[in-house]
Symmetry: C2
Subunit: 212 residues, 2 copies
């Protein structure tokens, strides 16, 4: 999935402020600096001051906008997802999930993303705020994509109305992350197709309804 | 699943040497020392010498038996799995997988195991031998459990003959690990049942056959 969808996740979220111009450039350079710094020195040695120097801004700019190091890291994780995962629209839930699982795997096969995610997931292994911010930022992106594709599947009559969109995305993504981070096995085309197929089948059969 | 199955995984594996007596006691104390050391100082500061001191054995004993630090770590991971995951036999694939997913979650809810797995998974994030040894040791246990319960399911006619046992276990376990280590969400009873249900359904429908 080399070509980028014209409607990235961020554009789907009403009320999100995405200012252009200088503010957007500052955000981009700070997040880029944060990701570079994270990969070079690791989470435990990263600090707001070092990110500020690398980005060419005052530390106060970072504190004012993101509140803390954790805030910058969470936003950096979110930005990587947003810029690389878009909302598919293939006409079927299984097709949409296949496109999504392929995009996730492609993201991980692109060396800088893999290194960033390794650091972010590694830092998320601790039990501090970094863990929570990382987890919630990745979850938010998934939930937003899931909401759109599952809503369409419900309208098409493919899945029950009370299907849990977040669970559909979790089911499709989990086997890929399991291979990447738990069993450390390769992830191939067959795995992305299978993950999508299993999740779509489970959703169609009503196994992924919201808990009552 | 507080009570332990009388047939732990190790016992299911023909040809595995589990000597009793002094050798077994040495193994147990070295692995216990390795796990304690890992949690206290982290993987990057752990060394064979420190583990040897803690276990009260000569470093040469460890090198002779495990070859390297990675060998000890892999065996420690394997031993935690072996001692805590047994082969269920409930009469159905879905029941067996439910028992297994519950046992995995219970393992993670037991504080020392969670801390050990955090360290082992964290060390597996690197790209060195620790990653490979950790991954292969956890995989081996799963593959052994999977082989037994899927073979029974095939005999009962529940699933196609060419069902991929390792993939069945991966499907059942992946959503739990995803919650524990990627999205950092709680894992409840409903999640363990759902993971088993989705994996069993996918297997029954022939979605988890071996690749040709």
């Amino acid at each position: 999935m080399r070509q980028r969808d014209p409607h990235p996740v961020a554009g789907q979220r009403p009320g999100t402020v995405r200012p252009g111009g200088r503010t957007a450039r500052t955000r981009r350079s700070v997040l880029q600096a944060a990701l570079t710094e994270l990969v070079e020195v690791g989470y435990s040695s990263t600090g707001v001051e070092k990110i500020a120097i690398r980005a060419g801004v005052a530390p106060s700019t970072i504190y004012r906008r993101w509140g803390s190091l954790e805030g910058v890291v969470a936003d950096a994780a979110q930005s990587v997802m947003e810029e690389n995962l878009s909302v598919p629209d293939t006409g079927t839930l299984e097709g949409d999930l296949s496109t999504l699982t392929r995009a996730i795997v492609e993201l991980f096969n692109t060396p800088p993303y893999r290194a960033w995610m390794d650091v972010l997931i590694g830092s998320a292994l601790g039990h501090g705020p970094a863990r929570d911010t990382f987890a919630s930022s990745t979850l938010r992106t998934r939930a937003e994509i899931g909401a759109v594709i599952v809503e369409r599947a419900v309208k098409r009559g493919e899945v029950p109305q009370d299907t849990d969109a977040a669970e559909v995305i979790r089911q499709a993504a989990a086997p890929l992350y399991y291979r990447l981070y738990i069993s450390c096995e390769p992830v191939g085309e067959a795995d992305t197709v299978r993950a999508a197929e299993v999740a779509a089948t489970a959703a169609r059969q009503g196994l992924l309804r919201k808990a009552v």
